[in-house]
């Protein structure tokens, strides 16, 4: 074994001998590194998740509201619409000559905590995500019958649903609802492949089906004695009266701003048209300040952890002067003593960073399903990227830099003490 190998081994044995304080130091570094990496991981994964959710859509149109609100409720199923759009308005706008396709969506109901979205078959033809990927079926296909439902991959997995499964839609958005459309159950016709977007957590039905389940409802409730059975409702004209929003694909991107202005100034009804990418950018601008603040706080927590390391080594330094004298007596040079202390700082930091990575993945594994369920944001458990590794390297480097302080003091003590300790 080389002398450096001997020194590093001695540093490891010395730390193990003081494993109580050493482990506390490692733990404090680990927690701080986990926090720093966790903030960054959630930031990048959230951005990636949001950016991958919708593509190829030129405009999203909803009732007059803020851009972000419209984006969040229509695409990410976060929050609620302020109002609806009349079917007449939708049809009029959809028939404009610059429009290539539209996807109407109607939100407001749920199934066991998952959002129910009324739409048309165009949704499965035109909706794009993660670049230019379209929706694909893992089983079955789009709805044919009035009471057919198409469920996302997570709905199927979490609820254990298969094709042919009966599904009862609840009125409203609560995870537990006491008002169910149980007189008009749906049947699972298709199951979509995993997309990594809120689509996975959505139950899709036709717009006509949304009208059908609310056909006997008045003012948000079903009057006693006025119920319409599932068979009888099929005989009604189920033309939607209103929708929540609609996605627009244009024949030419050049028409985007012109149509957006026309919709925003639409005289018959107050509407908002947003460009998804622009709205997403304004979201990042908004949360960017918070992100920077969180990163700064995390960085200071890491610094606090490293100062704990410095304190641990410095506190023990005086008690260890005899140890240094023994090492000097067997031939250790002052720079060996310096290296010993630096190795201890390095080992503590490396163990802290490694434990921090482990803790990060443990926390992500535990929190990812909750975040996905609660916010529809998918946190992938990817291996550490170059940013993560750079953070780890920086933490170890700063630890070594701080470790140089007690190392230099030990070096000077070793020179002054010789074989006896001169306090």
């Amino acid at each position: 074994m080389t002398t450096i190998g001997t020194i590093i081994r001695l540093a490891g044995r010395s730390l193990w001998n003081r494993r109580g304080t050493a482990m506390l130091t490692v733990f404090s570094i680990a927690v701080s590194v986990t926090l720093l990496l966790g903030v960054e991981r959630i930031r990048t994964e959230t951005r990636s998740s949001f950016a991958n959710t919708i593509s190829g859509t030129d405009l999203i149109v909803g009732a007059r509201s803020g851009d972000l609100n419209l984006l969040l409720y229509s695409v990410f199923r976060i929050g609620n619409a302020t109002n609806n759009i009349s079917w007449t308005t939708y049809r009029e706008l959809a028939q404009r000559r610059e429009v290539a396709w539209t996807i109407p969506v109607s939100l407001g109901d749920s199934h066991r905590g998952f959002r129910v979205m009324g739409t048309t078959a165009d949704y499965f033809r035109h909706y794009r995500f993660a670049g230019d990927r379209n929706l694909q079926f893992a089983a079955g296909g789009p709805f044919d019958d009035l009471f057919d439902a198409v469920i996302g991959a997570d709905v199927a997995r979490q609820l254990g649903y298969v094709q042919g499964q009966s599904v009862v839609i609840a009125h409203g958005l609560g995870a537990t609802s006491f008002v169910n459309h149980d007189d008009k159950p749906f049947v699972v016709k298709g199951i979509l492949k995993k997309t990594g977007t809120p689509v996975d957590r959505t139950v899709h039905v036709s717009l006509e089906a949304i009208e059908a389940i609310h056909a006997d409802w008045q003012s948000g409730a079903r009057p006693r004695g006025a119920e319409i059975s599932a068979e009888d409702v099929r005989r009604l004209e189920l033309r939607p009266r209103a929708i929540t929003a609609f996605f627009v694909g244009l024949k030419s991107r050049a028409a985007t701003f012109r149509l957006q202005r026309a919709i925003n100034e639409y005289p018959e009804e107050p509407l908002s048209a947003i460009i998804p990418g622009v709205a997403l950018q304004s979201l990042w601008d908004l949360v960017g300040i918070v992100e920077v603040a969180l990163l700064a706080v995390s960085a200071f927590v890491v610094l606090a952890g490293l100062l704990g390391l410095l304190t641990t080594i410095l506190t023990n330094l005086n008690e260890r002067r005899r140890e240094m004298a023994v090492l000097r007596s067997v031939g250790a040079r002052p720079w060996h003593i310096f290296t010993l202390l630096m190795s201890e700082a390095g080992l503590l930091a490396v163990c802290g960073v490694a434990a921090g990575f482990g803790l990060l993945y443990l926390c992500l594994a535990i929190a990812a399903p909750f975040i996905e369920h609660r916010f529809g944001i998918f946190i992938a458990l990817n291996p550490p990227g170059s940013y993560d590794l750079a953070i780890g390297a920086i933490v170890v480097s700063v630890a070594l830099l701080l470790g140089a302080i007690p190392a230099f003091r030990a070096y000077r003590n070793a020179l002054a003490d010789g074989l006896t300790i001169r306090l």
Binding site: N17, R322, V330
Partner: protein, 237 residues
């Protein structure tokens, strides 16, 4: 026949603070294999003298030669290398690293000195075997002892482990700085007997510092350090 001295000190003076020497020594020498007992009151510069001979402290004034090497002309790294290769040191107490077991403590010098390691290997053995042999020679022949933590040993056992460490690799010079002060009278005499006997067996010179003049009879020669600037040497009667 005369041989070159193992240690030769001339006109040596050392001060921790300018103008206040703690050690002033006109002449001292140690022949190869010679066993020297150094005594003196507290503050007479005994530990400082050992620091200068081992090369841990730089020579300020005068000359210190160890095995023909002029310490005052050597760089710090060269003195460190000389100490690692040719000098074994035993302290008063806390000789051992508490986080290493007995075997690792004994073999520690050979981790810093290729020369001492080579000497062990050249004798046709390995570090562990030689360490066990030395421990056995010093009365520590329990086969489980090398694997034990040093904190499980008595003070007397720890001092013998320190002696084995100092002797591993057959250094030419052993420096012992009051190694018996924490032992009782019987253990003290036993330890010195073992140490001197083992030094004699390998023909190592020894500089043994102690307050306890009753131990002087175990050595070839006694040297008394008095106040700075005065020293006297005398042969045992």
């Amino acid at each position: 026949m005369t041989s070159a001295p193992l240690v030769a000190v001339r006109d040596l003076e050392y001060a921790w603070q300018p103008g206040r020497p703690v050690l002033s020594l006109r002449e001292l020498s140690l022949a190869p294999g010679e066993r020297l007992f150094v005594s003196g009151p507290s503050g007479s510069g005994k530990s400082t003298l050992l620091g200068l001979i081992t090369g841990v402290l730089p020579v300020q004034t005068g000359q210190v030669e160890v095995m023909g090497h002029a310490m005052q002309a050597m760089r710090s790294a060269e003195r460190d290398a000389l100490r690692a290769d040719h000098i074994g040191v035993i302290f008063q107490v806390f000789n051992l690293l508490s986080y290493l077991n007995v075997m690792d403590n004994v073999t520690l010098p050979c981790r810093f000195s290729a020369h001492r390691r080579q000497r062990v290997l050249a004798a046709g053995t390995d570090l562990a075997t030689e360490a066990r042999r030395l421990l056995g020679r010093l009365g520590l022949d329990d086969p489980d002892l090398p694997g034990r933590p040093v904190t499980a040993l008595s003070i007397g056992q720890q001092q013998r482990v320190a002696a084995a460490r100092a002797l591993l690799g057959r250094p030419e010079l052993i420096i012992a700085d009051e190694p018996t002060s924490s032992l009782d009278a019987q253990a003290r005499a036993d330890f010195v007997d073992l140490l001197v006997g083992e030094c004699r067996a390998v023909n190592a010179g020894i500089v043994f510092v102690s307050h306890d003049l009753s131990l002087a009879g175990h050595f070839d020669r006694q040297f008394a350090l008095a106040d700075p600037g005065r020293e006297k040497a005398r042969r045992p009667a």
